[in-house]
């Protein structure tokens, strides 16, 4: 029986649809032309200009600092949460806990942004880098918890019991048995939290206040007010960084977070 070629054709077109805009953007970042309407020769002028944009670099520094702190805090909160969900799976408290972990994933970003903004305004917390940090941790916990939980469900808990039977204390068990077994899950969850934090625009925009700028906020205002080819160059650098992170995370974890999606 001959199989239809139609699905293959659609898949090919879909992949073309995915990559064509990105490829053209990367090519244009090396284009000397200002509008990208025609090829006016290979040039690194936009990359060189990027070096003289202190605002972009300041925003990049903010983004990086926030992302590192968010990764650390959400790893701790997400991991304890996954341990509780796994260990006490049957308890009623964990059912409520699971709903609380799961719901932020289905809520559209703009709703999370506006409710956090209302919360900060009502509590009288000044908007800025600190509120961005709090907001990012809030949406990263759920992702980390689910990635680590997936990992926990795969492994053999008798090893932990064996360690305890052999006289290992709580701390020794955690450090010598649990941590090495969890390491790939932690690495995957951490990278996910890091990329989500670096990338987030909508929620950040709501809780940033007037002064604080992160890279996505900077990129957004560049897009809104005159799209210069500088964004092409900046985007290309960011694309290379993301691809590297994705490849590293694929290597680090054979777990299925990449295949699992959201």
């Amino acid at each position: 029986m001959k199989r239809s070629r139609f699905p293959l054709l659609i898949m090919g077109l879909v992949l073309l649809f995915f990559y064509l805009p990105i490829i053209i953007l990367v090519i244009n970042s090396f284009n000397a032309s200002r509008f990208g309407s025609g090829w006016q020769g290979f040039s690194l002028i936009w990359y060189r200009r990027l070096l003289h944009e202190p605002e972009i670099w300041a925003a990049a520094r903010n983004t990086l600092v926030i992302a590192v702190l968010v990764t650390i805090v959400s790893l701790i909160l997400g991991t304890t949460s996954a341990l509780a969900l796994h260990r006490f799976a049957k308890s009623r408290l964990q059912r409520v806990h699971y709903t609380l972990i799961y719901t932020p994933l289905v809520v559209p970003e703009i709703l999370m942004g506006i409710s956090l903004l209302m919360g900060f305004v009502a509590a009288g917390v000044g908007l800025g880098l600190f509120t961005i940090f709090l907001a990012h941790v809030t949406f990263c916990i759920s992702y980390v918890a689910l990635v680590v939980l997936g990992r926990l469900q795969d492994f053999d808990f008798s090893v932990v019991e064996a360690a305890q039977d052999l006289g290992a204390g709580w701390w020794a068990t955690a450090r010598k048995v649990l941590l090495p077994m969890l390491a790939p899950g932690l690495a995957a969850g951490g990278l996910l939290a890091f990329t989500l934090s670096v990338d987030d625009f909508v929620i950040t925009f709501f809780v940033a206040g007037p002064g604080a700028t992160t890279l996505p906020i900077r990129v957004y205002s560049m897009i809104k007010h005159g799209a210069t080819p500088l964004i092409n160059a900046l985007s290309t650098i960011l694309l290379v960084l993301t691809f590297t992170i994705v490849l590293v995370s694929q290597r680090l974890s054979r777990s299925n977070i990449l295949e699992g999606g959201v």
Binding site: F18, I22, I24, T80, H97, V107, G119, V219
Partner: protein
């Protein structure tokens, strides 16, 4: 005791930064705004009543059909793609899957920007269309609802391919062959055997596109025009332009209810199905 120690950190954090603020939004929808961008004293129903105005009904209607259209396109493209992925050989499948996943990791704003420059009056697509004779120099490809739907499909498509692929991978393709042997035409076999077989994946794919689509704000903001605004844009305007937080809250309540409706509908349908066939377990993928 140990349970509380492990549960408390994430539980309290999400209660403080997710649950409470969400409740606050409901609460603020019933408060009046003061002229200085703050919250006035007392309670009012006026903010909610103002949403009945035809202006808002137009926007709610547009939000709904733009989201539905986006979901339809995504599913129409994702089903054949997921099918082709599931039928590819083991070796090719890894690479193809990687190719589908990578765009899902690239920055959201960059992907929108890539389309903005493609659709730009000086951009590539316009030049090609004029060369082929499909457009004249006056045609505007940007700042309309068509551009919004196009970029939304581009952004959400990877999300819909993954659950459909996950369901198709578990599907037993011998069922399709059996149907063919029994005389079904290829398309009938696809429609009556394959599609019901990946039902759970389809439901997930629809939800992961439709729900975030309802809350879209950046895409209509960047590639849409004044006549393609969605609820998300109105919420942002009330916050950033008019500083009217109660009004923004009231709009958010509408959006929350719109998001809850399909979720509850699915839940009820699933329950009903479970009652009819109590022993069938529907695998959930996301």
């Amino acid at each position: 005791m140990q349970e509380w120690l492990l549960t408390a950190p994430s539980f309290l954090w999400l209660a403080a930064f997710f649950l409470l603020p969400t409740l606050l939004v409901f609460f603020l929808a019933f408060r009046p705004a003061d002229p200085y961008g703050g919250i006035g004293p007392g309670w009012t129903l006026n903010t909610l009543k103002a949403l009945g105005h035809s202006y808002y009904l137009d926007i709610a209607w547009r939000t709904l059909w733009v989201s539905l259209l986006t979901t339809a396109f995504c599913v129409l493209l994702a089903v054949p793609t997921g099918y082709a992925l599931a039928r590819a050989s083991e070796k090719r499948r890894r690479l193809l899957l990687m190719l589908v996943i990578v765009p899902f990791w690239t920055s959201f704003l960059i992907r929108i920007f890539a389309w903005k420059s493609l659709l730009h009056p000086e951009g590539l697509i316009k030049h090609v269309l004029i060369a082929v004779g499909l457009a004249d120099p006056q045609t505007s490809l940007l700042y309309n609802t068509g551009a919004v739907v196009l970029v939304m499909v581009y952004t959400f498509l990877p999300f819909s391919i993954l659950p459909i692929y996950a369901a198709a991978e578990k599907f037993d393709f011998r069922l399709v062959e059996a149907a063919r042997d029994l005389g079904a035409r290829p398309f009938a076999a696809f429609l009556k055997v394959f599609l019901p077989g990946i039902r759970s994946g389809l439901v997930t794919a629809i939800l992961v596109v439709f729900i975030p689509a309802l809350g879209s704000y950046v895409i209509p903001d960047i590639v849409g025009g004044p006549r393609s605004e969605m609820i998300g844009n109105k919420i942002a305007q009330r916050v950033f332009v008019d500083r009217n937080l109660p009004h923004a809250s009231a709009l958010s309540v509408v959006l929350i209810l719109a998001v809850l409706a399909p979720l509850l509908a699915i839940l009820v349908l699933q329950r009903k199905k479970d009652k009819e066939k109590p022993r069938v377990i529907v695998p959930e993928d996301a």
